[in-house]
């Protein structure tokens, strides 16, 4: 892998360069406690030290709501509305979110690829950014705290700038085309990188790995945690809507007033909603709040072969943004410890 250095004083200029290449999105502080990815007008607004954004980066490739096609009911014809494929530059993505995007890729760009997602994704540039964990983070046990693929460039914080890892040809081109912003790394930078990594690892509140979590969960499907915690649940779907790897969607036809046409839209759904498991005829495969709650714990802990991680990347959003303060990590640990002497 190639490594270069982006000195602190060149960061803004580099961001300006990125902005000139397409639409630049990055983390912004939007309220007292919350951050979100937003379109960047002024590069000074970019927040380099943020814990997590409200909405996950997948929204740029798989929007909350989109028209998949318009139709003509008279001739029974459809007109697909494909994304324009404009360049999207996503700056400041944490490692866990990059794995999240790779998990999205594994489901949306497979042997039956989703064209809407794929076109946007192919036009996306991902710039990673290192971070330090807070008490909600558990990416380390998910093995997603450090990524080796899925980014074009990855910026690691140094005292006087960033150590940049170059992940793709697009990343190399970015550097080749703007050599004035970059310099070679020094041995001091290497030391600082190592120090940062050591510090970062030591900060996690959970250590080790959860590779066997899914088996332990499965052995205790009847654990009382599910009943107790789902009782607190509001069924609001915040956990899945903020999740970087949740991808359930719903589809709906909207006819025009005169009935001669209309559009088919798809929009994010959540397995926490009642209608998620409902089929025509009225049968519901997950009729209770507890069924739906348990479903999410199973789904998120399932194994993704492409990334060799669980579908949960340990970003902590589902807990951080849970109005009912349901602690995903703690609950998992509770089941994990069952029978394990904990």
């Amino acid at each position: 892998m190639r490594y270069v250095k982006l000195p602190k004083e060149k960061v803004c200029e580099f961001l300006e360069r990125l902005k000139s290449m397409g639409t630049l999105y990055g983390p912004k502080k939007i309220s007292e406690k919350f951050y979100d990815f937003r379109e960047i007008g002024d590069v000074k607004e970019v927040e380099f030290e943020y814990n997590r954004t409200i909405t996950p980066p997948r929204k740029y490739f798989f929007p909350e709501r989109e028209t998949v096609f318009t139709f003509d009911t008279v001739n029974v014809e459809i007109h697909e509305t494909m994304p324009e494929g404009k360049p999207i530059i996503l700056f400041g993505v944490h490692a866990c979110d990059i794995v999240g995007l790779r998990i999205m890729d594994s489901r949306f760009i497979d042997d039956l690829p989703d064209p809407y997602y794929q076109i946007r994704r192919e036009n996306g540039i991902i710039i990673g950014l290192s971070c330090l964990p807070d008490e909600y983070c558990f990416c380390s046990v998910r093995r997603t705290d450090f990524v080796d693929a899925g980014f074009d460039l990855f910026l690691h914080l140094l005292p006087d700038g960033y150590l940049v890892r170059v992940g793709t040809v697009t990343g190399h081109k970015l550097i080749e085309n703007s050599p004035e912003y970059f310099e070679e790394i020094s041995s001091e930078d290497k030391d600082n990188f190592a120090k940062f990594e050591t510090k970062r690892r030591s900060m996690f509140t959970v250590q080790g790995n959860w590779d066997d979590m899914r088996y332990r969960l499965e052995l205790h499907l009847d654990h009382p945690m599910y009943m107790r915690e789902s009782d607190k649940c509001l069924g609001c779907g915040n956990c899945t809507l903020t999740c970087p790897t949740c991808r359930c969607y719903e589809v709906k036809d909207l006819p025009t007033l005169d009935g001669t046409g209309g559009e088919r839209i798809r929009f994010w759904d959540s397995c926490q909603f009642r209608s998620h498991g409902l089929v025509a005829g009225g049968h519901n495969f997950r009729p209770t709040k507890k069924d739906r709650f348990l479903n999410r714990y199973q789904c998120k802990n399932a194994y993704c072969e492409t990334t060799t991680t669980s579908y949960c990347v340990g970003c902590g959003r589902c807990t951080y943004f849970c109005p009912a303060d349901i602690q995903f990590k703690e609950n998992l640990l509770e089941v994990y410890g069952t029978g394990g002497g904990a």
């Binding site: 309220s31 409200i54 909405t55 909350e64 069924g235 609001c236 007033l257 009935g259 009225g282 109005p323």
Partner: protein
């Protein structure tokens, strides 16, 4: 009252007729602020609608209105609050193929039901009109499905324009609208709003209120007041939210009164609150 399952409508679906005929529509009002009709009368495409359908009744905007004609689609605004309201509602039901309850009053009883369970009609009457007699007989405000079968519920105080358009379009197409069964809270996250319930402990009813407004008020930093009513199919988790509010220091009375503004007719409200606070005295 059990709300229909909405899997397959057990009423007639309007046959789409396009150029051949015009669907007949009635807009009726019981007791309310007239806001739902106001929204209906002022949707951007109102003139297009007026060309596509035949308004048999729309007293607020047309002198050419009659209560007594059969219609394909009846939109009923307002709560049943007088005996005359009830008579009219029954007639509308008789005349309509599809009856839609539109707005908080018709769907959930409206703000006039705020004291439901605490004060009855006579007590309310006495406190406002004293001993004086009025020749019309009033009734305790109630949502219209307390009296007649309602095919669809279009909530909101007032309802959202795009929902009105969606309902109308699907009906005219010979189909019917998809029901929303998730809360405002979800829409609020999709809008990318910071959560005021988490961040500033605001008494936001977004988690128990049925979505459809794109989190209009939380987007202004104003806690949801619940004007769209509870999430249907018993998925309005008053208990979970009450517990959160209680942990934030809100009193039981405050929580109950706030939730009751637009949910007083939800059969789960008191029961679920009791689960958190114990039985009401």
């Amino acid at each position: 009252m059990e709300r229909s399952k909405m899997i397959l409508p057990d009423h007639e679906i309007i046959e789409e007729c396009r150029d051949v005929c015009r669907a007949t529509v009635g807009v009726y009002v019981l007791t309310s602020c007239y806001g739902c009709q106001l929204v209906m009368a002022t949707v951007q495409k109102i003139m297009e609608i007026a060309n596509l359908v035949d308004f048999k009744c729309f007293y607020m905007v047309s002198s050419k209105s009659s209560m007594h004609e059969p219609v394909d689609i009846a939109f009923v605004e307002g709560s049943v609050s007088t005996e005359k309201d009830l008579e009219e509602l029954k007639e509308v039901r008789k005349n309509a193929k599809v009856l839609v309850a539109i707005g908080a009053c018709a769907v959930n009883g409206g703000v006039q039901s705020w004291s439901e369970g605490d004060l009855n009609y006579d007590e309310l009457y006495a406190s406002v009109y004293g001993d004086s007699k009025i020749k019309y007989k009033g009734l305790q405000a109630a949502p219209i499905d307390s009296y007649v079968k309602v095919d669809y519920f279009l909530p909101g105080c007032p309802p959202e324009e795009d929902e009105i358009m969606y309902f109308l379009s699907t009906f005219l197409f010979g189909s019917y609208p998809e029901e929303i069964d998730y809360p405002v809270c979800a829409e609020c996250r999709l809008e990318g709003n910071p959560c005021i319930l988490i961040e500033s402990d605001a008494p936001c009813l977004g988690p128990i209120t049925v979505a459809g407004c794109k989190a209009r008020c939380p987007s202004f930093g104003v806690p949801c007041i619940g004007c769209r009513g509870p999430v249907p199919h018993d998925n309005s988790w008053f208990d979970s939210l009450a517990l959160i509010f209680r942990n934030k220091g809100y009193s039981k009375d405050y929580i109950r009164e706030r939730m009751k503004i637009f949910c007083s007719f939800d059969k789960n409200l008191e029961e679920r609150l009791e689960k958190v606070f114990g039985r009401k005295k």
